[in-house]
Amino acid sequence: MPDFQAYCGRGVPRFANDVELECAKLLDYYRVPWDYEPTTFVLERAADGSVLEAFKPDFYLPEQDLYLELTVMKQSLVTRKNRKLRKLRQLYPDIRIKLFYKRDIQRLAERFRLDLAS
């Protein structure tokens, strides 16, 4: 695990995939303070109060007050994620979040020569 300089969360971030790791390294290189999955937004609760659906964006940039969600799924398979994002925006209209699709990430990888496995 790289020795991150701009990470402002607690504990060691455990990334789900190489894309998240490379994004963290990119933010860190440019000294953009970042946190990894610090917030879980509840989207739906059962009558007893238990959580039925939630959304945890990958990154939070405190200086920007901005959440980033990366998806490596093919464009045709992101319908469920898009639906959750719409729901998040409806329930938490003040939250600023950006969704980066696989194509966006590929562009980033080309631009910055990221070490992505795929």
Partner: protein, 158 residues
């Protein structure tokens, strides 16, 4: 270019701004823009260590700093292209510590849909462009094609 220059001249009238470009791509744009701004202004250059050539534990840094002080000056950053905003964000945070009177940016090309960071002081934009790769007019592909006088779409390069 004439429109951008006239707009900048109008906004900065009586203030003698410093135009700051990052080497190397922006040089072509700065040269044309400077000659299109009919008010007194200074120019200067910076160079940043790129992410592609990073080493472990390295972070972005200026490998060529400004030659002039910007304290109390109006600074206009001249960018070839703004996409993720990471570079511009770093430069703005670095320069803000030097107490300029104002700090704004002009981008020759803009890809706002590729922003990773927001809140950038991009006040002037030449062209908002699609998600394509360009060469010429300072833009290179592995240091080639910068010299071309016009922008060209590099098909199959991205």
């Amino acid at each position: 270019m004439a429109e951008l220059g006239a707009e900048i001249a109008r906004d900065y009238a009586g203030r003698e701004p410093v135009l700051v470009a990052s080497l190397k791509t922006s040089v072509f744009f700065l040269a044309d823009l400077s000659r299109a701004i009919p008010i007194p202004h200074a120019i200067d250059f910076i160079a940043l260590a790129g992410y592609a050539g990073r080493t472990p534990r390295s972070g972005v840094r200026l490998i060529k700093d400004l030659d002039v002080s910007i304290e109390g000056r109006d600074v206009l950053l001249v960018e070839d292209v703004v996409d993720t905003g990471l570079t511009l964000n770093y430069v703005c945070r670095t320069f803000a510590l030097r107490n300029p009177t104002s700090l704004e940016a002009v981008a020759f090309l803009d890809r706002p849909y590729r922003r990773l960071v927001d809140d950038l002081p991009v006040r002037y934009v030449g062209f908002t462009v699609p998600d394509e790769f360009f060469v010429g007019y300072g833009f290179d592909l592995d240091e080639r094609y910068r010299y071309l006088p016009d922008l060209h779409l590099a098909q199959g390069a991205s």
